[in-house]
């Protein structure tokens, strides 16, 4: 394995009244593509949000290291500036903030990305072309009134603009039609090609993975990572579903009890 970029060790977390993740350990190397799969409600999105530092979840044990530093106690903005990016399953609408103002502000926050406004506009234009987006969207309020597909494109736009070291894509493929899925897939390919960033793709649908060279596959059931394997594990899941893992998890749970 190449240098470890993300290392999650023995992580347990949940909301105030409900434990969700149990003793989760996971490592992602620089430039690697990992896939996290599992049935609905397994805790996949929660893991993404906990890695990002969402205060809605509390870490009860375990640690998160990123780029050689412990970030378990860091706020989300610090983790973002360190190079973690979480693409939302349902991007939040932010009325009162035009997309241009937002993109410019989050870019200028990163010393390595600071550029003149002219270059910035040109860069945004290039990315927008890659993603088949018109120019009028820049003056629209962030995610307000956008379709589901457009919102995902805005997420991809930010991914390509911010060039994070690690991108966590939380069901980016959900709710997309064929054309939008193709555009989003192109965005992910561009990120891999241009930024050499690592990917943790959270999904329970394998279509978005067709164009990706997956290094490792993880399976989560009921907050536990129950299996890990090479890309071929995806084919097995495609064929047999998650039932095999759910049964194993139930037996393991029974044994523990």
């Amino acid at each position: 394995m190449s240098n470890q970029l993300l290392r999650v060790s023995g992580l347990s977390a949940g909301t105030e009244d409900k434990p969700i993740l149990h003793d989760v350990s996971l490592a992602v190397g620089t430039g690697e593509t990992h896939v996290l799969m599992g049935p609905n409600g397994a805790g996949k999105s929660t893991l993404g949000h906990v890695i990002m530092g969402d205060p809605a979840y509390q870490v009860t044990s375990g640690t998160i290291e990123f780029d050689g530093k412990g970030v378990t106690e860091d706020a989300a903005d610090k983790r973002s500036l360190a190079g973690i990016f979480l693409s939302y399953q349902a991007p939040v609408e932010v009325p009162g903030v035009p997309l241009y103002s937002y993109l410019r502000t989050i870019t200028q926050k990163r010393p390595e990305l600071k550029m003149t406004a002219r270059k910035f506009r040109a860069r945004v234009g290039e990315i927008a072309d890659q993603l088949d987006m018109g120019s009028s969207f820049l003056t629209r309020e962030l995610n307000v009134g956008f379709s589901g597909g457009e919102k995902k494109k805005i997420e991809m736009l930010q991914l390509l603009l911010l060039r994070p070291k690690l991108a966590i894509l939380d069901e980016t493929d959900s709710g997309l039609d064929v054309d939008a899925l193709s555009v989003v897939s192109r965005g992910i390919e561009a990120y891999r090609a241009d930024c050499d960033g690592a990917l943790l793709v959270i999904t329970h649908n394998t279509r978005i993975l067709e164009r990706l060279n997956v290094d490792r596959t993880h399976v989560m059931v009921q907050g536990h990572l129950v299996a890990e394997g090479p890309a071929s594990l995806i084919d097995s899941i495609d064929e047999h579903g998650f039932e095999q893992f759910e049964k194993a998890s139930a037996i393991a749970g029974g044994d523990q009890a």
Binding site: G53, A76, G96, V97, Y100, S101, R104, Q158
Partner: protein
């Protein structure tokens, strides 16, 4: 186009002061216990002894202005001349009309015009500045009004009145960006059938700013439409009162009016008063209003934090967004200069220069 004015400015030194009471009064007064039905202003008085005043055509006397008659009378008495502009029938005027102290604009049938109301740029050099603007939009005309209040005086009064005839389309974009006291009133009469108004009002109040706004839309024609959207950011000890009235007058059947305000409050010391009123004297009409008042939502904050902004930076983004939008809309060097000067004051010169450069304005002109 016909245009007449001597373009005189007010003398620098007033000869006295007077109090204007019951300014910005809404058509239906209520909530008396809030003491928010009007504002009282003290304004300078300049002697006009010996001046010959060029008045607007009498037709403009019938245009109701948002701040009320007391302000109209005072503003007329203080302006040396009225500024009258007529846009000929069918003409599409590209050059914006820059409103002066007392301005009347006649937009003839089928014509299109843009009218800009703007404060002087920079730090306050005068006690009070004012604009009285009356517009008559004839049938099938299109009128764009852009209003920028960005300082330049301790106190600013903007009183605007518009009458829209059949099928006229009016859009108004207001940017009240401080500082000091801003009192602004807009009255729009949708007199003709199918006349339409789109009003967008964005405001910023901070430190000790006082912002007093009165919007009145009278829908008299059949099948008229109005869409009023106000939104802004309040911080520090700012005090804001907004009165927004949609009056669906008897005979306005088939008309629809909507008003919505979103206020973002960033400080516990802010005073925010919002008074939406819908008056209805017709059966077959629809009137809606809504308001959201509060801090940035936790979901929005988390989304912005996930992209690298602290809570404070996330809140500042909302302020920057106001200036971005104002600069995008500002059509004249004067209005851009005024917005930029205020942006420099509020956001600092680095961000202000970034706004200009980002919009591609940097090389075009010295602002």
């Amino acid at each position: 186009m016909a245009e007449s004015t001597n373009g005189a400015q007010q003398d620098a030194r007033p000869t006295g002061r007077m109090t204007l009471e019951r300014v910005n009064t809404p058509p239906a007064q209520t909530w008396n216990y809030l003491r928010a039905n009007d504002i009282t202003l003290t304004v300078p008085v300049h002697s006009r002894k010996g001046d010959v005043y060029f008045a607007l055509p009498r037709l403009f006397e019938g245009v109701e202005c948002g701040m009320g008659q007391a302000v109209t009378t005072w503003a007329e008495s203080q302006a040396k001349d009225a500024h009258y502009v007529e846009v000929k029938a069918g003409e599409k005027r590209d050059e914006p009309i820059v409103a002066q102290e007392d301005t009347g604009v006649m937009v003839r049938a089928g014509a299109e015009a843009t009218i800009v109301i703007c404060t002087p740029a920079g730090a306050p050099t005068q006690d009070t500045t004012a604009a009285l603007v009356r517009i008559i939009a004839e049938r099938e005309s299109r009128v764009h009004v852009l209003e920028f209040v960005c300082g330049g005086s301790e106190q600013r009064l903007d009183s605007v009145g518009i009458i829209a005839a059949e099928d006229a389309r009016i859009d108004v974009r207001q940017f009240f960006l401080g500082a000091g006291t801003t009192a602004a009133g807009l009255a729009v009469a949708l007199d003709g059938n199918r006349a339409r108004l789109e009003l967008t009002c964005r405001y910023l109040g901070r430190e000790q700013d006082i912002l007093d706004i009165n919007h009145v839309v009278r829908q008299r024609g059949r099948n008229t439409r109005c869409d009023v959207r106000e939104s802004g950011v309040l911080d520090g000890h700012a005090k804001k009162s907004l009165r927004a009235t949609i009056d669906l007058v008897h005979g306005s059947s088939g008309s629809e009016g909507a008003e919505l305000e979103n206020v973002l409050i960033l400080s516990d010391d802010v005073t925010n008063k919002t008074m939406p009123v819908i008056l209805c004297d017709e059966d077959d009409v629809a009137g809606n209003h809504g308001a959201s008042i509060g801090s940035v939502g936790p979901e929005q904050i988390q989304y912005l934090r996930d992209r690298g902004l602290s809570v404070q930076e996330a809140e500042e983004l909302y302020v920057r967004a106001l200036f971005d939008e104002a600069l995008i809309c500002a059509p004249t060097p004067q209005s851009r200069a005024a917005v930029l000067a205020r942006a420099t004051d509020v956001l600092g010169s680095e961000v202000a220069n970034d706004l200009v450069e980002g919009l591609g304005l940097g090389d075009a002109e010295e602002v």
